[in-house]
Symmetry: C2
């Protein structure tokens, strides 16, 4: 699981909480210095990119600060580990980073609703779904989709009973007090306020993705 | 929001992620040294118990390592801040800690399904629900209930529109792949495996709570 400055903490902690009790999870970054996540909480990686095992069952990228998609060291790491991992996965904007590493070309994938259409710039087919599986690529939607994603992945890795035990341990019987989890459910009024809140993020993301897509070929070729 | 060694990280990060973009959240512990959470991730508080404002809108306690309920410094802090906070709240086993601080006497409350009945030892009335509100006490069920809890609390503090914006930003349109989030849903076979997995935890928790309940009177009297 990739950690980085400005990561959306819940993108990471959702699936990490599902998987950690029964899997060997490495939370990796360039170093093990303290770094600040999106929510202001300071934490650190459990190991470095260099220490991370060469052959992974799962490569996972959470969303967050999108500039990570222009970090060559990170992209080389992802392209390398992703070329051999059994599963190449993401939650939220993490799929954009996988895309920039050249790992989603020719695959169906999803992302946070606000970024999903940008996947096309990386040769992926965006799908509006909470979870998209295409061969060994499993991508989840925005933030909280990481819990659903984690349970699906755990069932895949260790069987349905282990996933159900995890669901029970996490008492995951969700009961959202409102029906506003997607743009369609939230409706035009809330979406209007959201656009104000996000400001020009959408405008910045498109050229950033376009530039990242141009450099995609620079990284280790993907073989699986 | 109380942080402590062995805290269940998702108990904390769920509501923290809901609230942090629009509220001033303090994540507090005795010091700002690094500490290890239940899932192996190392992080630190944003401020100390001493630095924490005297008068809080919300006091929040997540679950985790239950021995925290025997920590006098923590209990005095909770009893003090809880006596003036507008809302006294918890997710998962955090309600047991509130109970030990004398903050749930005469209130209905909930907790993680595995610990819920222990609330009675602290003079509270356990309720089997994902979220229980009794006057200014708002307690959530196990782990993932923190997201539902966070949205309810945010609506209370800043209105429904802000809560809906948060739900949309977090793309909270949950889709659990299995129906195993409560003991009733999981059924006897999965519950049997869970009992094996938990081992003697239940046996340890009852005497620990009973001892904590005896000492409840030692802390600052609760006035609200």
């Amino acid at each position: 699981m990739l950690l980085y400055p400005g990561v959306t903490l819940l993108d990471l902690i959702g699936p990490q909480s599902v998987l950690a009790p029964s899997c060997n999870v490495h939370v990796v970054w360039k170093n093990t210095d303290l770094l600040e996540t999106d929510s202001g909480i300071v934490m650190k990686a459990t190991s470095t990119l260099e220490e991370c095992p060469e052959d992974l069952d799962v490569l996972f990228v959470p969303g967050g600060e999108f500039s990570i998609m222009r970090d060559e060291g990170v992209l080389r790491f992802l392209a390398d580990r992703g070329s051999r991992a059994r599963y190449v996965t993401s939650v939220c904007g993490g799929s954009i980073v996988l895309g920039a590493a050249g790992l989603l070309q020719g695959y169906e994938a999803t992302s946070h609703w606000s970024a999903r259409d940008k996947l096309a710039l990386f040769g992926a087919t965006p799908v509006a779904a909470r979870l998209v599986r295409d061969r060994n690529r499993i991508t989840g939607g925005g933030v909280t989709a990481g819990i659903d994603f984690g349970l699906v992945l755990l069932a895949e890795l260790l069987g349905e009973d282990v996933a159900k035990l995890s669901q029970l341990a996490l008492e995951y019987d969700p009961a959202p007090p409102f029906d506003a989890g997607t743009p369609e459910q939230a409706g035009p009024e809330i979406m209007g306020k959201m656009q104000e809140w996000l400001g020009p993020m959408g405008d910045v993301l498109t050229p950033m993705c376009a530039a990242a897509a141009k450099d995609m070929g620079k990284y280790t070729p993907v073989v699986n």
